[in-house]
């Protein structure tokens, strides 16, 4: 029999969120419970922190307390660079607050062309196209260039934006074990004859801060006739003699077909990009939907990015200081007895491995009370279901601050019982 049609003035009985199939949100119940359990234990919400004031690239006021920032990816400290800020202010005055349009309609200003030129100069490549975020750069390029019948071979620890790019496209997706050259080689060798192949790698993997053996991996990919895309989000500006990333550092940048990067780390603002020497690359502007069907970056953002990128070309001293910071911090934490994501410092990210989510969250809060902000990373974003306290250093952290950070880690680690 028909149960009739619900009328708005006759309220439905409350939904039993647990097992009522009509509530689309019941699928989130496990994560809601996990979060509630964490908050019920008296801990502060690690994913609800508010920066009340930002004092510099490395200090902010959180919960009324001055806090050292050690989890911002602001590797080169460009966010408060006076020339960068001045360029942004000028663009706001001259071009307004936003473009209100797609790059292919009314959203390309002279500033967008200038930042793309800056990227070509920075990487020594022929083409650059700028997206509104780094996430969209991966989403757009991967889903567009690998189509039906093509194969994407990628590292299992790839960033969410890479996975989402794979999911959005029509290619066959084949993952291999993290940084495992032989596993990648085997999978490439089994792809049917004649199929298009795209290998997707990252220079620095952001969870553990480890780098990829790009030189060997790219050589294998090329032997199988694959095109290679490398995401250098966490290495741009810092790794390599000119800050072009891990591929430059390992001497194989010329063999990379597509470099993906972001403005929201070393560059110090927001936006994403892809640079390439492919002769047909410009067609991406017409066929790549995450490029076409979104508004372009505001003029002030592209002006700050262009100024920052040009300054990063000549930032050798800052790169050297950041390496010093990374080495000192890594050695200090190791001496204190923390378990780290890599045996040696390989990037500006140092991941401190926590025994479990509860103690990880407790440690995160203890550090915040000491006056230090780091990232709490938890499954499923982390490899092997680890809970991590992820630290990203900045070239603007002073030697003294790195010393203070180590003191805070020691106090918090002892309070929580991890060391």
């Amino acid at each position: 029999m028909s149960e009739g049609i619900a009328t708005p003035d006759k309220p439905e009985p409350p939904l039993d969120a647990g097992d009522d199939a009509r509530d689309l949100f019941s699928k989130f119940d496990p994560i809601i419970k996990q979060r509630q359990d964490l908050l019920d234990s008296g801990l502060e919400d690690p994913f609800g922190l508010v920066m009340e004031r930002v004092l510099s690239p490395v200090t902010a006021v959180c919960n009324g307390r001055e806090t050292i920032l050690l989890g911002t990816y602001n590797y080169m400290g460009m966010t408060f660079d006076p020339e960068v800020i001045e360029a942004g202010k000028r663009a706001l005055d001259d071009f307004g607050a936003g473009t209100t349009g797609s790059r292919v309609l009314n959203g390309t200003y002279v500033g967008h062309k200038e930042v793309e030129k800056a990227l070509c100069d920075f990487y020594g490549m022929d083409h650059a196209i700028v997206f509104s975020t780094g996430y969209q750069a991966n989403l757009g390029i991967i889903s567009t260039i690998a189509g039906k019948g093509d194969y994407i071979v990628l590292d299992i620890d790839s960033h969410a934006s890479i996975w989402d790019g794979c999911k959005m496209g029509d290619a066959e997706v084949v993952p291999f074990k993290h940084n495992d050259i032989e596993a990648m080689d085997k999978r490439l060798g089994r792809i049917p004859e004649g199929a298009g192949k795209l290998v997707v790698l990252e220079g620095v993997y952001s969870m553990l801060g480890d780098i990829a053996p790009l030189r060997e991996m790219i050589a294998v990919a090329k032997r199988h006739g694959a095109m290679v895309l490398v995401d250098e989000a966490h290495s741009m500006g810092f790794i390599g003699p000119n800050g072009r990333g891990v591929a430059e550092d390992q001497g194989c940048l010329d063999d990379v077909d597509f470099i993906i990067g972001t403005f929201s780390k070393s560059v110090g603002t927001v936006g994403g990009f892809c640079v390439s020497n492919h002769p047909k690359f410009e067609i991406m502007r017409l066929v790549c939907r995450p490029y076409v069907f979104t508004a372009s970056l505001p003029p002030s953002v592209v002006a700050t990015a262009a100024t920052s990128i040009r300054k990063l070309m000549h930032a050798g001293d800052k790169r050297a200081h950041l390496w010093e910071n990374s080495k000192r911090m890594h050695a200090g934490l190791k001496t204190l007895g923390f378990q780290l994501g890599t045996d040696e410092p390989q990037s500006a990210i140092i991941a401190v491995i926590m025994p479990d989510l509860e103690r990880g969250a407790a440690m995160w809060e203890a550090l915040l009370q000491e006056g230090l902000y780091v990232n709490l990373a938890r499954p499923p974003a982390t490899p092997a279901n680890m809970t991590l306290l992820r630290c990203s250093l900045c070239a603007e952290h002073t030697e003294e601050q790195v010393g203070d950070i180590l003191v805070m880690f020691e106090a918090a680690g002892k309070a929580v019982g991890i060391i």
């Binding site: 194969y151 299992i156 794979c166 066959e172 997706v173 084949v174 993952p175 291999f176 074990k177 596993a183 085997k186 999978r187 089994r190 792809i191 499923p380 490899p383 092997a384 279901n385």
Partner: protein, 80 residues
């Protein structure tokens, strides 16, 4: 290629991954019965790929829910 042979070889491969000692039959599901996470799935798939020298893309994996479906798919891929 014959299904019996494929099944026997996968039976041997699954053993080290079956940490909960679930009795595995044709209708056993990977997500539900075996409660495997994505890393375990990847390692198991890699072991099968290496054993039979085939590729099982993630797109194909999405269609496979039960142990029986896996054996069917691998049998088909070996014949291809």
């Amino acid at each position: 290629m014959d299904r019996e042979d494929t099944k026997a070889r996968i039976d041997a491969l699954i053993e080290p991954f079956n940490k909960k000692n679930v009795t595995v039959g044709e209708d056993t599901t990977f997500a539900g019965d075996l409660e495997w996470d994505s890393l375990t799935v990847m390692d198991f798939v890699a072991a099968i790929e290496d054993e039979f020298d085939i590729i099982i893309s993630m797109n194909q994996q999405a269609e496979i829910e039960t142990y029986g479906q896996l054996i069917d798919s691998v049998t088909k891929l070996r014949a291809a």
